[in-house]
Amino acid sequence: MLPLLFAVTEAAHEAGVAEKFGLEWKFVVLQVISFLILFGVLYKFGIKPTIATMEERNKKIESGLKNAEETQVRLAAAAQESAALIKQAQQDAQKVVDEARKTAKEFADRQNAEATARAADTLAKAQQAIELEHKKMLNEARGEIARLVVKTTEQVLAKKLTDTDRAAYNDAATKELTTI
């Protein structure tokens, strides 16, 4: 600063300009000194704290921005993680639903198979019962027919057999019984 001031002063002396414009160098120097003092005071108590405050604020802003970025990154990571979790949960849920469907289908198939088996068994038993009833009926009819035939034969024999026939049959029976 001082070299500049001396240079100006020196230049003024050389050119004689200052005298032309009515400048007095001692006032100029005093004003420069007072300006420097004022500048120093302003710098110390005004500019420097302001710059410090601004720097601090800049640091805070940078820190906040940094925190915001980190938060954003964390948020993105959390979102990604939650998406992964949701996807996994959906897969698990789908798996459970598939399993439930499979189990339900197996149960339904088993029920159907059992019902079919029961129906077949019932049908077979009914057929057996019908067959047994049919056989029983046939046997009863056969027995009844035989009884009627025997009874009719007995009635016919009682009327038609003569003593001669009986005697002949008795002789044959005698031969049969005596050869036992």
């Binding site: 056969r142 027995g143 027919i145 035989a146 009884r147 035939v149 025997v150 034969t153 007995e154 024999l157 009682a158 057999l161 003593d163 026939d165 009986r166 005697a167 049959y169 008795n170 002789d171 044959a172 029976a173 005698t174 049969e176 019984l177 005596t178 050869t179 036992i180």
Partner: protein
């Protein structure tokens, strides 16, 4: 029941005493009855029933009851007597007993054995077979 067992054994012994040459002897039976009367064994009524049953069974073994429908000749009875005597190796006497339900043929009963050749028997067999 022990008394019943002893009574059965006694009845069996008395029955054996009543036989002479495998045949029931009237004299022996009279002797046995006299013994029972005198000795008055335990359960006399049961003893007499068992003894009577044994004698009746023995008599039945010696009798052939010939049931018949229609006429039957003495020669037929003789033939049956001979056959049964030979079969049972003891004297068997035949007696006729008419039974019209047989229609025709003979049914011979010796003791608990039965021999049959009758029309009613054949009809019954036919009915059972059907």
């Amino acid at each position: 029941m022990a008394g019943d067992k002893k009574t059965k054994q006694l009845a069996k012994q008395l029955f054996k005493l009543s036989l002479v040459n495998g045949q029931v002897s009237a004299e022996q039976v009279a002797g046995v009855l006299g013994y029972i009367e005198k000795s008055a064994p335990r359960h006399p009524l049961a003893l007499l029933k068992l003894y009577h049953r044994a004698i009746a069974t023995e008599f039945a073994k010696s009798r052939a009851i010939v049931e018949h429908a229609g006429p039957i000749s003495d020669s037929t009875l003789k033939l049956i007597e001979g056959a049964m005597t030979k079969k049972y190796a003891r004297p068997v006497t035949a007696s006729a007993q008419p039974n019209p339900k047989l229609f025709a043929g003979l049914r011979v009963r010796v003791g608990s054995d039965l021999y049959e050749s009758t029309v009613s028997g054949q009809l019954a067999n036919l009915s059972n077979a059907v």
